[in-house]
């Protein structure tokens, strides 16, 4: 109990509250601009977190990412351009509602069910994390190896691309993580004689390059989105209670699916939205209404993507294995702030953990009033032309990367990975898989090599301990899953074709 009071004391500190408010506004604006994703918003926040207290730093990330995932719905609904990839799944549906003259319903559903989903995700984090922490205390390097490997495999499974290319991206990330001296032998590896590479390739410049610079490049070669027509909205939240009552089943299902996908290492909000929208359509009694401006799918997918955000923190806090690309950044910040992820975090720094839960709840409650203001101002914010936003983002990329180590080489990395990210994404190689490979590379290698040394080079002990055997089975089935799907489709012709 004293820890809970201590946690409240941590959260109500003025710097934390101001950080939450400012980063919420920042997240809302960035998320609503097409092409600027929640991950990018978070990556650009990192240099700012250097100068904040640990709790305030984590608070900015939580608040900004939650807001950005919601506000990605706004341009999706009004312009048919998803603001973040997590909104892409149901953009069409939301836009159809706008065309029917009911943008309030679509935006309100996005806001209301995002906030409820975020709170459901937080509850799952509160319940699940301590239980799993107890289990995790018994983990050895074998389990950690499989867990990290499973995380990487999940990242490839959920990528909306060829699984082979996703695995190749993931391996590329692991290869990049090999660079530097931090390896079992302590020898310079793949540094090509460059002293700047001795310390390895840091995750933050890579993230900024891959998620921000490549977006700037893409914006430069693609046509400008159409301007938003000015319109006045009716009441945003009116009718949402009725929707909640009507679709509470769908909402709960969306929450649960979102939580599960979030907990899976590597799979995040985008995937949660796609799966939930598809599920909603599949199980709906009014399937024919989907795509014509029917709120049912919006409810389920909106509830899902925000729920996944909070539960994505479960593997991140417990094992240091990111639940999605946003928590991949958050883990770096946690380490920097001395909140090293691991099961002991819950026993030794319990008050910090409670503070984190409180921030989640607070951010999701704050989302409703701020979200309403944002929707009302959307036509002004979305009017900001790319020609003024993108150049500033580019300079912020340079300064942000420089700030991570006061080192100009980081900016070279940003430029290089900006190009790599752009080329990869254009050719169907999912960059998120590569990023997770880079973030988790050192951990995978350490647990792999330590385990191999312990077992004298034999692979058998990797499967002998009960938990590691289960994790191994899950990993291998994740590896074989695409082949299974392919075979299944070969044997059975696609049912959708008959339906059409």
């Amino acid at each position: 109990m004293s820890e809970l009071i201590e946690a409240f004391r941590l959260v109500v500190a003025p710097d934390v509250l101001i950080a939450i408010l400012l980063s919420s506004i920042y997240g809302l604006v960035i998320g609503s601009l097409p092409g600027l994703s929640a991950t990018m918003a978070t990556a650009l926040l990192v240099p700012v977190t250097f100068y904040l207290s640990p709790i305030a730093a984590v608070a900015t990330i939580i608040a900004a990412s939650a807001m950005a995932i919601f506000s990605g719905d706004i341009p999706g609904c009004l312009l048919r351009i998803p603001g973040t990839p997590a909104s892409a799944a149901y953009t069409d549906e939301a836009y159809a509602l706008t065309r029917k003259g009911q943008p309030e319903i679509a935006l309100g559903a996005g806001l209301w069910f995002s906030a409820l989903g975020g709170i459901a995700g937080t509850i799952s984090l509160v319940v699940m994390a301590p239980l799993l922490a107890e289990l995790a205390l018994n983990f050895s390097t074998f389990e950690y190896f499989w867990l990290a490997f499973l995380g990487l495999m999940c990242a490839t499974l959920v990528a909306r691309s060829s699984p082979v290319k996703a695995i190749a991206s993931m391996l590329l990330g692991l290869l990049v993580a090999c660079i530097g001296m931090e390896n079992p032998g302590g020898v310079p590896r793949f540094t090509f004689g460059l002293s700047d590479l001795l310390g390895g390739v840091e995750a933050i410049p890579v993230l900024v390059g891959v998620f921000a610079v490549s977006e700037v490049i893409r914006a430069l070669v693609s046509p400008e989105p159409p301007p938003l027509p000015r319109r006045r909205f009716g009441s945003i939240l009116a009718g949402q209670l009725a929707l909640t009552r009507k679709y509470w089943r769908q909402m709960t299902r969306g929450n649960i699916v979102g939580i599960i996908i979030g907990v899976l290492p590597g799979a995040g909000a985008d995937m949660a939205a796609w799966v939930s929208y598809a599920m909603s359509k599949r199980f709906s009694k009014e399937q024919h209404k989907f795509g014509t401006g029917h709120p049912e799918g919006l409810v389920e997918a909106g509830a899902s993507n925000n729920a996944s955000l909070a539960s994505g923190w479960v593997p991140s806090l417990l094992f240091g294995i990111p639940g999605d690309t946003i928590t991949a950044i958050a883990i770096g910040v946690l380490y920097m702030k001395g909140l090293n992820p691991g099961p002991t975090l819950f026993t030794e720094r319990a008050s910090s953990m409670y503070a984190l839960y409180i921030i989640f709840i607070l951010a999701n409650i704050l989302m409703i009033p701020l979200g309403i203001i944002m929707i009302r101002l959307a036509s002004q914010v979305l009017r900001a032309p790319r020609a003024t936003v993108m150049p500033v983002i580019l300079v912020c990329c340079a300064v942000g990367a420089f700030a991570t180590g006061n080192n100009l080489f980081a900016i070279v990395l940003v430029a290089v990975f900006g190009v790599i990210g752009y080329v990869m994404e254009n050719n169907g190689y999912p960059v998120a898989a590569m990023v997770l490979g880079i973030v988790m590379g050192t951990m995978v290698e350490q647990s792999f090599v330590t385990s191999l040394i312990k077992s004298d080079g034999s692979l058998l002990p990797f499967f002998e301990r009960p938990v590691s055997a289960v994790l191994a089975a899950m990993t291998i089935s994740a590896l074989l899953w695409p082949a299974f799907i392919w075979l299944w489709k070969r044997i059975r012709p696609r049912p959708q074709e008959h339906a059409l």
């Binding site: 300064v399 050719n427 290698e445």
Partner: protein, 165 residues
Amino acid sequence: MRLSDRITGSFVAVLGVLATYGGSQLPPVPGQDVGPSAFPIVIGIGLVLCGAMIALGIGHSFEEEAEADLAAVEGPPQRAQPADSPIHKLRALLPPGLLLFYVYAADRLGFVPTAAIMIFAASVAFGARLRVALSLAILAPVAIHLVFYKLLRVPLPPGLLPMPW
């Protein structure tokens, strides 16, 4: 820049071969079988396998499905435009080029002039009117400098134009 699977797959495979070879050349830890070379070799072999499969077009059907899903949301791709000339495509190199320019020039010119040049060039490339681009190039670097230098204490180089704070 869209390349065929054959090219990207071969590139991945060659990278795998190089990683395996480079990894195998690393000095071992004395008295131990497993050292710094184990992990790159495993990754290298994986990359070779993936690269070969990509070049042979295995797994391509998944990609087509995902694209069909996305096309259903975003409408038909609007890429094929007359402006798609080689010069137009070269604009893609501008953002990384400007970042490298920053690395080269920041210490010589200082943050504010360097950032002003970057912003001006980028906003012109995005098609901003000259007046907008100029005023943005004058105001934005000063604002960014204020936030990062004054509030966040990032040691941005003063160069030719030190700010009064």
